[in-house]
């Protein structure tokens, strides 16, 4: 992931700026926070961590920060769940942080392996293989000959054709999020109306990337103070209210 710091971030050197290459992803950033603050991974103070996480990513270019913002949304959701009153039944209560802890521990394992691999790779990089070979062998040395049959080739063709003829399979194109576009849409709606609802800005036929784009747009705009997000009760439709009502026409 490459960092594209916005000009605004460069113009404000006093604020903390996350340089993305420093972190290989949101879990890396989260682990660093936990380590820096000497927190217990099994008992994460979510409110505090979420706040710091948001502070650290506040200057990322939005479209590049999609992965980070998804984590931010997850932290805020866990925070909200922790605030919900428990239904007295302590037995059946599951800590909403459990899944995050599991992912962090799993990711920490990956980091341990990475350290190991990095060390091995560096040692290996210190040594050169033989550059030239004596003659041009028919095969690269050490590569055994092939066992191939026409049947195999034809079944490969069949596989290719089968996949090629299922457009639903091939239509799965990784799509970049269009947060900027979603912000424009939401601003457009709010220019007309003081209040609106989640279901008004996200069509019922919206694709996942569109839903995620709008979600990130709303979070970002809320952070910028352009709007307020309200959810009257759990699972209710989210209401979106334009901030600074004084300006309302």
């Amino acid at each position: 992931m490459t960092a594209a710091l916005s000009p605004a971030a460069e113009a404000a050197p006093s604020t903390f700026v996350v340089e993305l290459p420093e972190f290989s992803g949101p879990l890396d950033l989260l682990l660093t926070l936990i380590r820096d603050e000497r927190l217990d991974v099994y008992d994460i103070p979510i409110a505090r961590v979420a706040e710091q996480f948001l502070a650290r990513i506040s200057h990322l270019a939005l479209d590049e920060a999609a992965d980070y913002l998804e984590m931010a949304a997850r932290l805020l959701r866990i925070k909200a769940q922790l605030l919900l009153p428990r239904s007295g039944d302590e037995e059946g209560w599951e800590d909403p942080r459990a899944e995050l802890v599991r992912r962090l521990l799993e990711y920490q394992q990956v980091r341990e392996v990475v350290e190991h691999l990095d060390r091995l790779g560096e040692e290996r990089r210190e040594r050169f293989v033989r550059g030239a070979t004596t003659w041009a062998p028919a095969l690269p040395a050490g590569v055994p000959p092939l066992a191939l049959s026409l049947t195999e080739l034809l079944s490969a063709v069949d596989r290719v054709l089968r996949v090629a003829r299922e457009p639903t399979v091939h239509d799965v194109v990784a799509r970049a999020l269009d947060v900027a576009g979603a912000i424009t849409t939401v601003r457009g709606v709010l220019a007309l109306r003081q209040r609106t609802r989640w279901t008004d800005v996200v069509g019922s036929d919206a694709e996942p990337w569109q839903i995620l784009s709008v979600l990130l747009a709303l979070l970002e705009m809320a952070k910028l103070g352009e709007l307020r997000l309200l959810q009257p009760k759990p699972f209710a439709v989210v209401e979106i209210a334009r901030e600074s009502p004084g300006e309302a026409a």
């Binding site: 879990l27 991974v41 992912r103 790779g121 070979t133």
Partner: protein, 182 residues
């Protein structure tokens, strides 16, 4: 040096990749596996001899045996531009590679779930460097591609086989023993 040792040296010297034991054994139809192993050990000792030794050494890795220059000459060789070290892998690449090494065959979505970021570009770079390969398709929805590591991965990290990587439970234990050290 015995004739068999010389023959082995010739084959190892001619190859820029690890030469599998199978292939070393077929060099001389009269030699047993034990003979070959004994002569490989003799070659290794000869190269490592402090007096008559050589600037390269014999290592077992990547599913075979390979001659490699010793680390102490790397800087001078690179400065003289006679050979170049491969580029160091980024943290993102190493993380992805580590996950594939332990979970193979594994699909892209699963890797992204563990790393928390999208990995399309990283997978492409790892494929191009020959460190991973597509090993098949999952039976799941959309039949996503599955990735696995290649013999070249073992070679690039000086591993004899995948089992040389620390076991997952070893890591987990280390983790639980000292949770606050995170």
């Amino acid at each position: 040096m015995s004739p068999l040792a010389k023959l082995l040296e010739a084959a190892l010297f001619a190859s820029s990749r690890p030469v599998p034991m199978d292939e070393l054994r077929t060099l001389d139809a009269d030699a047993t596996g034990e003979d070959v192993e004994r002569e490989l050990a003799a070659l290794r000792a000869h190269y490592d001899d402090p007096e008559a030794g050589h600037a390269f050494e014999l290592v077992e890795q990547g599913g075979g045996w390979q001659l490699l220059t010793r680390a102490e000459y790397t800087e001078a060789i690179e400065r003289a531009q006679l050979a170049q070290r491969p580029q160091r892998l980024s943290a993102a690449s190493l993380e992805t590679l580590a996950i594939i090494a332990y979970r193979q065959p594994i699909g892209r979505a699963e890797i992204e779930e563990i790393r928390g970021v999208s990995v399309g570009g990283v997978l492409k770079a790892l494929l191009e460097r020959g460190l991973i390969d597509i090993t098949g398709r999952s039976e799941g929805l959309g039949r996503p591609l599955l990735y696995g590591t290649t013999p070249s991965f073992l070679e690039q990290f000086a591993l004899r086989h995948l089992e040389e990587l620390p076991r997952a439970d070893e890591l987990a234990v280390a983790l639980r023993a000292n949770p606050t050290a995170l």
